[in-house]
Amino acid sequence: MSPLLILPIILPAVLAGGIILFASNALNLQRAISVLGTLALLGLAISLSQAPTQAYFLGNWPAPFGIALVLDGLSALMLLLTASLALIILIHTIRTGWDACGRHFHALYLFQLMGLNGAFLTGDAFNLFVFFEVLLIASYGLMVHGSGEARIRAGVQYVAFNLLGSTLFLFALAVIYSTTGTLNMADLAQKLPQIAANDTGLIRVAAVLLMLVFAVKAALVPLQFWLPGTYANAPGPVAALFAVMTKVGAYALIRFGTLVFPTDLPATTTLLAGLLYPAALATIAIGALGTLATRTLPRQIAFAAIGSMGTLLLTVSAFTPQATAAALYYTVHSTFAAAALFLIADVCRTRRDGLTAALYMAAAIAMAGMPPLSGFVGKLLVLDALRDDAIAWTAILLASLLTMIGFARQGSDLFWKSPSAEAPAQSKAAILLCLTALAALTIAAGPITDQLTLTAEALHQPAAYIAANHLGGPK
């Protein structure tokens, strides 16, 4: 059992605790701790991404009785994505001084990372709820950072809607525990196939309720209403960080859809896929129409983010290894693309110069799935994975067009019609880093997709994941 597995969770917690206790009024010290911590998380994520699938038994209690963390290709990928995005956004926050607009930004930021990492690593369904709450409440804090009327009011809605989601999560967990008597995800994966075919009603309800919980996080239509107000009103860097928050929902859908409720499970078969598919199509439509119609940049990016979740989950809903691999690639891509756009929107508030315009164009074409950046590669991978589905193709390509038209009009209004270069230039280092990530994702698409294909195949054949839990009984 490598203690490295728990570090992505306790390291940020300890650092945040330290900041509160010893550095609550020393911004520069907070910044240093935050940057070093995030760097350490990145290092950890890199080293974990080379580790084999393994579990970590908290409190030394065997699964399924205690809580187990499980590291596999997917969780390692999400850790790496989170850490690299977090570092980039931290740079932006510090360079633009956003962290000085309110108290405790860095502690909240570290707690946010802790919650994300915890959600990606846990192998226990109830513990996933707990870490959802950690990451949510930290996100509430970041969302209202620096406050202001519009932001707090949007924040109230964000909190209220997610409380409904959390409540739903508890309902689903209660049904799961009540019917199966277990909470460990690998244990569930082993037990659910044994359920008698004539007694699957309740477990199907649990599956659907859980899917809806994750759909709230993933902003799947018709559960997407919280997103535009939240993202458009959050501080720029926070909105950028939130690009990974919707991916938590996608992560959980992929995890439960492949491990606990795979399509070959007799009780649920294609129940989830069948529900996910039309919802994802609607999400693509709402996202694309919103991007086309919305006039203000942050809100427009928020709709584009919704649209990208639609594409992502449409791909996921195929539940084939190839589609999952494409979805994973698209996950990484859309996270950096949305983050770059939100950071650009932040910079654009005060100054719209030539360089910003160029960055905007690069990020917008990535988001719209145009070449040369990874959006195009991602789109090709998705289309190829869904090759027999004419409806999906039409939806994805039309959405690309509407997104492109929307962003082109926005860019032409912002940078051509009303450029402004009076305000002092803001640091664009973080935006460049996001775009560099997209470029790297494009250039190294070959080796990256090979790796992701292995990850996806392991997801669809979760024997190693289950074996890592050592479910034989108490040791």
Binding site: I137, V156, L173, A174, Y177, R295, T296, P298, C348
Partner: protein, 130 residues
């Protein structure tokens, strides 16, 4: 007994949801509180009902302790969430001057809000008809 508890859960859910659908922050918070009672009770009964069997080792008969532990965690978390929501709602009221929960209660408000977000309104619609 099961019927009684089920109706209690049902009533709490009904009342919670009705209040959640109100347009002001305070009733919504009350609604969410009632809903959290409902879900705590629901989570609790996932271990089913067993009278006079507290899970204190030594007494002989025990009810399922795990749901109780889960409910404890859920109670604490929902306490934290409620506290946050109350203070945020207060902040919203103090800064906005009203406690409506809907974002764009009227059209003007929507325009004002979007203008504030970007600080600049697009007029390419006018441009399209030169």
């Amino acid at each position: 007994m099961e019927i009684l508890i089920a109706s209690a859960i049902g009533t709490l859910t009904t009342c919670g949801i009705y209040l959640m659908l109100r347009a002001r922050t305070f009733p919504v918070i009350l609604g969410l509180s009632l809903l959290s009672y409902a879900v705590n009770l629901f989570l609790f009964i996932s271990g089913r009902i067993k009278l006079n069997a507290p899970p204190i080792i030594g007494s002989g008969a025990y009810t399922d302790p795990l749901p109780q532990a889960l409910v404890l965690t859920a109670i604490v978390i929902s306490f934290g969430m409620t506290a946050v929501l109350v203070i945020m709602a207060l902040g919203a009221y103090l800064t906005a001057g009203h406690d409506r929960i809907d974002l764009y209660a009227d059209k003007e408000k929507a325009i004002k809000a979007s203008a504030r977000i970007r600080g600049h309104e697009s007029d390419s619609r006018a441009e399209d008809q030169p």
